[in-house]
């Protein structure tokens, strides 16, 4: 069973994504911020991390530097330019950029794409 770590400070988002992805047969664990995420990674090695960009605490740029060999997809309500996205994809295992608000089916499709096709 593939494991996904959802990192988001908003409990509603964590719970929503967890419910949706568990329904699809994934094991889902959650973290409330970047620091919590890094603590969890000492014990767990998920197949994918869905990482919110806007969270209190440790800046995301520092969090992703610490994560090795695990695919990361950003979840973000903020908008970035195409050039910035391409720049991000070239570093630190970042494989996707999922814009909030997201469509449930699109999220499921993209997660499956990352886990089974990349």
């Amino acid at each position: 069973m593939k494991t996904i770590l959802v990192v988001d400070d908003e409990p509603d988002v964590r719970d929503s994504v967890k419910i949706i992805l568990e329904k699809k047969g994934y094991r889902v664990i959650t973290a409330i911020d970047g620091e919590d995420c890094l603590n969890i990674l000492r014990e767990e090695k998920p197949d994918l991390i869905l990482l919110d960009i806007m969270m209190p605490g440790m800046p995301v740029r520092n969090v992703i530097k610490e994560i090795k060999n695990i695919k990361i997809a950003f979840l973000s309500v903020v908008r970035t330019s195409e050039a910035e996205k391409q720049n991000l994809f070239n570093q630190n295992n970042i494989v996707d950029f999922i814009q909030k608000p997201f469509d449930v089916e699109d999220l499921i499709k993209r997660v499956a794409g990352i886990l089974y096709e990349h």
Binding site: E10, I53, V78, E84, P101
Partner: protein, 214 residues
């Protein structure tokens, strides 16, 4: 009911304006406001789009972005970047005192307007009480600086939630699971809108105008 906003005229009546805008009209309203402020000394504070994404959007409408000064509170969160001629890249607003201080320093350059995009994004970092305090403090800073404020906020109910509900039905969720997905929302408290004129835009572009709490 009106379908347009004369932001400069409104600024004469009340220096602080809150635009509550649904997602589908958001970019259009940003462009509308920025076009109107093209000949005013304006500082655009963005917590919603990166500087790159925002200027990319404005340039599609032939808006000269060099006329504006930007403060970007997003980009530095994901990568290292240095200030440019017309953009200050600041840390994400986890600490609203720092954000206030940055704005205060910038306003020493005497701006006619600040555009704050958006109050909704502050909810990603802070709780209601801190946001209330920040907004009231910012309004005081604007008053001292003789600067007008145009505040944006996203009107949509829980913007990050999946919709419409029919798509959730396909996943065969229980009523409790659906409820847990749909209930709750960020709310603007009355103190957050104190002294502002509110322009409440609907999805068709109709605008209702009312006063915030006084």
């Amino acid at each position: 009911m009106s379908t347009d906003i004369d932001i400069k005229k409104e600024g004469e009546n009340n220096p602080n304006t809150l635009l509550l805008v649904p997602g589908v009209k958001y970019d259009n309203m940003v462009i509308n406001v920025v076009k109107q402020l093209n000949n005013k000394k304006t500082c655009y504070i963005t917590l919603n789009k990166t500087y790159d994404a925002l200027t990319e959007l404005l340039k599609t409408k032939n808006i000269d972005t060099e006329k504006f000064v930007f403060m970007d509170g997003i980009t530095k969160n994901v990568r290292n970047i240095s200030n440019t001629n017309n953009c200050y890249f600041i840390d994400p607003p986890s600490n609203l005192s720092d954000l206030s201080r940055n704005i205060y320093e910038l306003l020493k350059n005497r701006f006619d307007y600040i555009v704050f995009d958006s109050l909704s994004n502050l909810f990603a970092y802070q709780k209601e009480n801190a946001i209330e305090y920040f907004i009231q403090n910012l309004i005081n800073i604007l008053e001292e600086s003789n600067c007008r404020g145009v505040f944006f906020a996203l009107k949509d109910f829980k913007p990050y939630l999946p919709s419409p509900l029919i798509k959730l039905d396909k996943l065969s969720l229980s009523q409790d699971e659906k409820r847990s997905l749909l209930e709750g929302s960020y709310m603007f408290t009355s103190r957050m809108t104190e002294g502002m004129t509110i322009f409440d835009v609907d999805e068709e572009g109709n605008i209702e105008v009312y006063d915030g709490y006084r």
